[in-house]
Point group: C2
Chain length 452, copies 2
């Protein structure tokens, strides 16, 4: 990573009275991520508001470390100046011990609110929520609303929507700030509302929230509870982060690794190996069945060694077509395009795709054997039968790979597991074993009396 102004910042650090007010917080954060030894000096010298913004851009690990090592008056200042959602994100990474100590730095109301937010399940909308927003009653005029914004706006993260609630704090409508700015000051807000609003439920999982944001092109959404009471808002910056984290997890799982908790480069080597070893060993144990399966066909192989030559070609074709199918379906499910009840439509498409793709590979495989046999004796006098065996096997294996690759993610989801677990390597391994069985069954049917 290029660090903007790294030299300049290092120079300033040499001076006695360091001031970092001329840098953007993201520059400072990038610098600190690269030179963590200067984190104390820099964070301490910033005014609280900027210190908090800088902190937000730091690696979570470094944030944790700073919170534990900065002088407590500084920590108190940071905690008090954080937005609720950022505070929840940071605290939820700490031990309950540290959390108890840290919330003592907060004023009473903030403390109660912060602990309530931490009470929502991980991966729920509640954890992303910010309980600071502008709410008004139906009878407010535009001017009164503008006054309220002027009074409270500074400490509120997002004021792009204003929320209208009734006397029980039940959400009635959301009004785009734009509507308010273009209306005349004496308009009563109740007269321009349409009582139509879109809201998240506090217990929705974050994946649902992402897809609602994506589908509706919204930058901020209100959060309500079962009774329709307005609890807070969720902003799209958190959603972009969740979306990106989810895609990362899915990609890592598709590649056959357990999802990493931190960026690749920051993951300690031992952790990295552990996350990979688990699945690699499971796949290896599964793949051992190929050795067992082939043990049953040892006789056939010794009678016709030429059969062994095509084993890698056949099993990898099944694996590749399975990877294609499973990744297509996993992603379509993650985007909400497909769910379990579409299984039959998916299966129909995949049967047809599998037949087409299998026929193409089967034909190429046959041609390869047929053409080679004109020039070398390697495939022996029965090359035609061998070619047919390989072609039929390829058709079967590709069809099977496509089918199991597409159905497995749907099944996993149905069973409550993460569809991305049916990774490319996992499907490939499953298909390898069955691919071998298909191959030797076809061979023993077609080649009995000739090669076998």
């Amino acid at each position: 990573m290029e660090i903007a102004n790294a030299k300049l910042i290092l120079d300033i650090l040499q001076q006695e009275s360091s001031t970092f007010n001329d840098f953007r917080t993201i520059e400072l954060a990038e610098f600190i991520n690269e030179y963590p030894e200067h984190s104390h000096t820099i964070i301490s010298s910033l005014e609280p508001h900027r210190a908090v913004k800088t902190l937000k851009f730091l690696d979570l690990k470094l944030q944790k470390k700073l919170i534990h090592t900065l002088p407590s008056n500084k920590v108190a200042e940071l905690m008090q100046n954080m937005h609720f959602d950022d505070r929840t994100a940071l605290l939820s990474e700490l031990t309950s011990e540290s959390v108890k100590k840290l919330v003592l730095f907060l004023p009473h109301d903030d403390r109660v609110e912060t602990l309530a937010l931490l009470g929502y399940p991980e991966d729920s909308v509640g954890r992303l929520m910010n309980p600071d927003y502008i709410e008004v009653k139906e009878h407010y005029t535009i001017q009164e609303i503008l006054n309220k914004i002027r009074k409270y706006g500074r400490t509120i993260e997002n004021i792009n929507f204003i929320y209208i609630v009734d006397e029980n704090e039940k959400l009635i409508d959301d009004i785009n700030l734009k509507e308010i700015l273009i209306a005349s000051p004496d308009t009563i807000i109740g007269s321009i509302m349409d009582r139509k609003y879109l809201a998240l439920h506090v217990n929705d999982d974050q994946e649902t929230a992402t897809s609602i944001f994506r589908k509706n092109n919204r930058a901020v959404l209100p959060v309500i509870d079962d009774g329709g009471i307005l609890l807070g808002i969720v902003t799209i910056d958190d959603i972009l982060r969740v979306e990106s984290e989810e895609a990362t997890e899915d990609i890592q799982k598709i590649g056959g690794t357990e999802a990493l908790d931190e960026p690749y480069m920051n993951t300690p080597l031992f952790e990295l190996i552990k996350k990979r070893a688990g699945w690699l060993v499971i796949l290896f144990l599964g793949e051992m069945l190929t050795a067992t399966a082939m043990g049953f066909f040892e006789d056939e192989i010794s009678r016709a060694v030429v059969l062994a030559l095509f084993i890698p070609l056949i099993i990898s074709s099944g694996g590749n077509s399975g990877s294609q199918a499973s990744t297509l379906i996993i992603r379509a499910m993650a985007l909400g395009e497909i769910n379990f009840k579409d299984w039959w439509r998916v299966m129909r498409r995949e049967i047809l795709s599998g037949l087409a793709l299998g026929s193409i590979l089967g034909l190429i495989g046959f041609l390869r054997i047929a053409i080679w046999s004109q020039f070398t004796p390697i495939y022996g006098p029965h090359w035609l039968l061998l070619g047919i065996t390989v072609a039929i096997t390829l058709l079967g294996v590709v069809l099977w790979g496509t089918l199991s690759g597409s159905m497995l993610p749907l099944l996993l989801k149905k069973m409550g597991a993460d569809p991305a677990t049916s990774s490319a390597p996992f499907v490939a391994t499953m298909v390898d074993v069955t691919g071998l069985v298909i191959y030797f069954l076809v061979a023993s049917l077609l080649l009995r009396g000739t090669l076998l």
Copy 2:
């Protein structure tokens, strides 16, 4: 997909004077996507503003069809009411023929602007840009700015930031609307600016823009040209869409499919097969080298058929460790965590990971052979040597898989190609061939004089 209110909408369609003003646009869009036969009736009955919003949520294919089949006065109305960025997105999917016809519906200035936007390269920030925003000069007071917003705000997609430009339209600062709302009305805007702003360049590619949005937690950013002239703004809803599309492309490529242009279910079957057949055939041709490679070792196999039993196990272990490494690196590169100049740090980590993972699998492989041999004669009298051969091969193959899987994405990027092309199946295929060679070389070294 559950369609909200589908029955209700169908009922209303039965009535003579259909009115759909009570539905949210997203509900109508979902309904139309499922029942495209009603698209004309519904779109025509909506007032222009809502029709455009509904259109935006439709599948691109359906949007295209509607634009081509609706009466031209309706099309003109739709075109005129679209935001610039949505119009660019739609027009860039049409033939230049249709574009020429459609821009005639626009007022002169809009037409010039729209054609200019279409002139930016695909995948550039220019294509996401909206040239409608609120700009002011340094000497404006807060009240003057509020008046300007009241006057022009209605037609502008996003007013969360106000841009200050000099007399040459050069961007000087961006001011959060919040700052304006909390300032007193007679403040001169020049007095609260800090001349620090973050902007995208119009020719930046969209991936760069996504990562700038993600890093800086922004919901809207200004776009400038080489001279610093303000050209437009990009809003985060477009970025969320780009981000999601990019992750989808990467995942599909990692799975060994060419990226689909449309959602899985909407991709015509023939298209779906074509997108998959390409890579599948390339991989198949590559994998044919395994048959060639094994041809060289046919003698060894016929002398020791037992060697053949471990072929699937060995090559798949190389493939799996390669998939893990390549997907981890591809994602880390997509998120900007790693680039080419980190290759040595990545390689060092991967050598160590490969050695560790290879040792684990090697050990398990050896134990399998050692333990089995106590109970069955299948591995013959030389099981110890065979076990060592398999273990050493596994170590070598996993190390090789890990290394090539991690280096290939970096190399591809360096050569200007998309790193995600080094898909799991691609790496697996590469590693299969070398895996076989490693296996038989180790075997001929260790087993000469005994099994061979």
